[in-house]
Structures are given as structure tokens and as C-alpha cells.
């Protein structure tokens, strides 16, 4: 009995650790979603939740059904591979109700610079300018047609 008495404090500290571990396990059981780990290291329920989210992008095929004229211009230019919503933003609502929901036109002075602002990391073949020197703040569509931006003979 005496032997135990002198080691009692160790039993107490072990009790504190055990209590900590038990509390952690209880918290874990309560906190971790039930579907976690069903398919992988994520919450399986998130798949159905994400699938149920409203679609905000229309997709370029939808845009092209009405804007065939723009498609023809785009096809001939360097931006042929750039999707409509990459510049115009998600247009799902506009596609659902084209007459009452009109998308705002992007500010080309800001939009174009996102890709075409000069940067030493960009490959030499990629068209890039120092916009402050190139256009002095003028919107790019003053001179360029955004859907087919090359000026001069088309290649």
C-alpha cells in the first residue's frame, strides 16, 4: 500500500493525460463529420453538396448559340482558344434570362493587363507590353478588338 502511496502522484498525472485523451476523442467523434473518409481523405457528403450548388457558368457553347457573330471574329484571331467567361465572368444567369440580365462590359484597361502586362518571367513569344508606356491609361479596345486583338494583317 505504501509503495502505491509514494507513486500516487504519477497515477494522478496519468489520469490527467487519460482525461485529456478521452476529451480529445469525444471532441473528435463530435467534430469530424460522419462521412469523412468514406471515399478518401475528405468528407463524402461534400460531393452531393457541391453538386447541388447552382451553376453560375454558362459554358462557351451556350454563349455561341446566340453570339455566333462574335464566334466568327474570335475564331480568326489569337483569342480563339480563350473561353468567353474567362473575360466576361460567369454568365449563367444571363444565359437563363438574356433579355433582363445584361452583363457589364469589362474594363479592358484592367482586364487585358492581367495577361499582357510585361513581366520578365513571360516567354518572349507572348505578346506583352508595359501598359503605362504602351497606352498611357487608354482602354485597350480604343485600338484593339478584344475578340481578335491583332492590328494589321491577320496571320
Amino acid at each position: 500500500m505504501n509503495r502505491f502511496k509514494d507513486a500516487e502522484h504519477l497515477v494522478r498525472v496519468a489520469g490527467v493525460f487519460l482525461l485529456g485523451i478521452t476529451l480529445f476523442l469525444c471532441f473528435r467523434a463530435w467534430f469530424v463529420p460522419k462521412s469523412f473518409g468514406q471515399y478518401g481523405h475528405y468528407r463524402a457528403d461534400s460531393i452531393t453538396e457541391i453538386a447541388a450548388l447552382p451553376v453560375i457558368h454558362a459554358g462557351h457553347e451556350t454563349c455561341e448559340t446566340c453570339h455566333a457573330d462574335v464566334l466568327e471574329i474570335k475564331k480568326a484571331g489569337k483569342h480563339a482558344g480563350v473561353n468567353c467567361e474567362a473575360c466576361h465572368g460567369p454568365q449563367g444567369k444571363h444565359a437563363e434570362d438574356p433579355s433582363s440580365i445584361k452583363p457589364a462590359l469589362p474594363d479592358t484597361a484592367v482586364l487585358c493587363a492581367r495577361c499582357h502586362e510585361a513581366n520578365t518571367a513571360k516567354p518572349k513569344w507572348f505578346p506583352a507590353v508595359v501598359s503605362a508606356e504602351h497606352s498611357q491609361g487608354l482602354p485597350c479596345n480604343t485600338c484593339h478588338t478584344p475578340h481578335s486583338p491583332h492590328i494589321g494583317d491577320k496571320k
Binding site: D6, H9, L10, R12, F17, F27, R28, T120, A121
Partner: protein
């Protein structure tokens, strides 16, 4: 920026806070190794620093995750590392290494070592402090000879477990860098070993400096026998650390793989001052030379103490530079091996110099509180 660099390499992703993180964990591991010298290897001379080393390790360990939390943002998410552990991620598993080291090694060892003092303080103190000490006793005030003997034996076992745990704690940091095979500056199996030895060097130097400064501030005499012993250990471990770093360097030069020209250029340009001048010359060779002189020449005590203080400071500068050169240096060159970028250290941002300074000083504040609560000083100090 020079020559060809990929777009995602322009801005460095890992800032000064990621430099600070291995520096802080290194101090923890090194301080604990110094404490274990007395406990396991029975080096009586370093006894005055035993408790200080443990409290220093705890103070720095409590702050060590903060640089990561500040770097990543969303600190609440770090809890998920424990709730839904990802066994294939070394970084995620480190959460358990950290918790193990904090709770099972440091807190338990400090509690066992201080138990007698805690019980006595719970009897002699008053007010709020008494409540704190009472809680710390866990309701047991048995400080019989046999109970303290049991504490001593259990503490010894914990220190034995603590040594590989300290190695694991800091070896892991080196492991993370060393296993990034896409980065030739980091990818080396020697990295964890170099990190462990540099951790020992920095931790021992930090505790030595803290012991000297705090003893002097308290108006007591620094135990010459103690600092002599620490300096000797520091000298020998530093030699091993430097040898390993040189082995890594020579191996890289001899192997001269496809990355060598790029790294060599970097060492001779942007890393010349932090790597060659600060880390190798000022922070490694100079302290080794200074400590070496004290081992060979019989110098007067005040001169020896001054040399130890200078060598200790230079060591910390050198080890910090080593972490800087690993973390920042590894991001200054492009994966194309044809281009280089620069690191702009911000001052007041979340990951700026100001935050780094606060995080470095914070453990000293915690140490102050801990030392007030659990005095690490010996009873029979001389003035």
C-alpha cells in the same frame, strides 16, 4: 530578377517566418540535449543550467508553431491535423511529434523535476499563486524521499525517451527540406543530420548565453566550471556540425550535377554575404576558432567568459544565417536553373521583420514568467 524564371517563382512563398521556425525548434532541441547531459550523462558541471535549459526549451517550443500559423493563416485549421490525421504527409504527422515532445517529454519532465518545489511553494505562497501551485501539484503533496526517488527514476526514463524525440523534432525539419527532390539546394539525405547538429549547437549556445546573462543580471557569479564545460561541448559538437556541412558542400562540388553551375553562381552572387561571409566565416569558423583557443590556451577567467559570450552570439548569428540560406536560398533560383529572383524582406506585414522580431522575443517573455513561477536557480549560488 535575372534571366529565365518561371512565373510562380518570382515571389518567394516561404518568408522569414519559415526561417524562424527551424531556428526556434533548433533552440528547443539543442536546449533539451544540454539538459540531458546532466540528467543522463551525469555531467555535474552543467547542473546550474539544467532547469534553465528545460524552461528555455519549453518557452521556445510554445512559440515555435506561431511562425507557421502566421504564414499559413487560418490557425483554427491546424486542429484538423489532429482530428483527421493524414498519415502520408510528413508535415501533418509532425503535429503529433510536436505534441508528444511538448506534453510527454518537456512538460512531464519539468513537472517531475519541479514537483518538490511546487509542493513547497504551494505551502508557502499566498493568494492566486497558491491556487496555481495547488493545481500544479495535482492534489498530491507527497514529497517523501521515496516519492522523490521515484520522480528521479521516471524523469531519467523520460530524458532517455526525450533524446531521440529531440532528434526527431528537429531532424524532421531537415527531413522536410531534404526530401524535396525537385529542389537541388535542399534535396540531400544529409539535411536532417546537419539540422540536428546545428540545432544542438544553437540550443547549447543559447542556454549558455541566457545562463551567463541572467546570472549576471541577478547579481550572482557565473559558474566558470559550468560555462567551461558547456563551451567544450559546444566546441566539439560545432566541429561535427561544420564537418557535416563541409561534407555536404564537398559532395556537391565533386558530384557537380546539372544544378551545380546554377547553385555555384548563386553562392558567389546573392548568397555570398549571407552564406560565405555570415554563415561560414563569421558564424562558424570564428566561433570554432575562438572556442578552440579557450581549449588550447590557458586564458584568464574574465577573458574566457568574454570569449564564450562572443562565440555564443556569433554561433546564434551563424545558425540563423544557415536557416536563412537554406529556406530563402532554396527559393532564389529558378527550377529552369537559368534564372534568379530576389527576396524583399517586408517590415510591418504579417510575415515581415517586425513579426519575426516579436516572435523571437516572445519566448524570452514566456521564459521570464516561467522562471518567476518555477525558479530554475540553484540554492547555493555565490555572489
Amino acid at each position: 530578377m535575372h534571366n529565365f524564371i518561371y512565373p510562380n517563382e518570382i515571389d518567394l512563398q516561404w518568408s522569414i517566418l519559415i526561417v524562424l521556425y527551424p531556428f526556434l525548434t533548433g533552440l528547443v532541441a539543442g536546449a533539451f540535449i544540454l539538459a540531458s547531459l546532466e540528467r543522463v550523462f551525469r555531467v555535474e558541471a552543467v547542473k546550474p543550467t539544467y532547469r534553465l535549459a528545460l524552461l528555455t526549451a519549453l518557452s521556445f517550443l510554445l512559440v515555435a508553431p506561431l511562425p507557421l500559423q502566421l504564414h499559413l493563416g487560418h490557425p483554427e485549421r491546424s486542429l484538423e491535423m489532429y482530428l483527421t490525421p493524414h498519415r502520408s504527409s510528413a508535415m501533418a504527422m509532425f503535429g503529433f511529434v510536436y505534441l508528444w515532445y511538448l506534453m510527454v517529454v518537456l512538460v512531464l519532465e519539468i513537472w517531475l523535476d519541479y514537483r518538490r518545489d511546487i509542493v513547497l511553494l504551494s505551502r508557502s505562497s499566498t493568494g492566486f499563486l497558491r491556487v496555481i501551485y495547488k493545481i500544479m501539484t495535482l492534489g498530491s503533496d507527497n514529497i517523501s524521499e521515496r516519492a522523490l526517488h521515484i520522480d528521479e527514476r521516471v524523469g531519467w526514463v523520460i530524458t532517455i525517451i526525450g533524446i531521440p524525440s529531440a532528434f526527431l523534432l528537429h531532424g524532421y525539419v531537415g527531413f522536410i527540406f531534404g526530401s524535396i527532390k525537385a529542389n537541388p539546394w535542399w534535396s540531400s539525405p544529409l539535411m536532417p543530420v546537419v539540422f540536428i547538429f546545428s540545432a544542438m549547437v544553437s540550443g547549447i549556445a543559447a542556454v549558455m548565453l541566457l545562463y551567463m546573462a541572467l546570472t549576471k543580471l541577478r547579481g550572482f557569479a557565473v559558474s566558470v566550471e559550468c560555462v567551461d564545460a558547456i563551451a567544450t561541448y559546444l566546441f566539439y559538437i560545432f566541429i561535427v556540425d561544420f564537418s557535416l556541412e563541409m561534407l555536404d558542400l564537398i559532395h556537391r562540388i565533386y558530384e557537380a550535377d546539372e544544378s551545380f553551375r546554377s547553385l555555384d553562381f548563386m553562392v558567389h552572387t546573392s548568397l555570398w554575404i549571407p552564406h560565405v561571409i555570415v554563415q561560414i566565416l563569421l558564424g562558424t569558423l570564428t566561433p570554432i576558432l575562438l572556442l578552440g583557443v579557450t581549449q588550447v590556451v590557458k586564458l584568464a577567467v574574465p577573458v574566457r567568459k568574454r570569449i564564450y559570450a562572443i562565440a555564443g552570439c556569433l554561433t546564434l548569428v551563424g545558425i540563423f544565417a544557415m536557416r536563412w540560406n537554406v529556406v530563402i536560398g532554396g527559393q532564389l533560383f529558378s527550377k529552369s536553373l537559368l534564372g534568379y529572383t530576389t527576396y524583399k524582406l517586408q517590415l510591418g506585414s504579417r510575415e515581415g521583420l517586425g513579426t519575426a522580431i516579436v516572435l523571437t522575443l516572445m519566448p524570452l517573455g514566456i521564459l521570464y514568467v516561467l522562471a518567476k513561477l518555477l525558479p530554475p536557480w540553484q540554492q547555493h549560488e555565490t555572489t
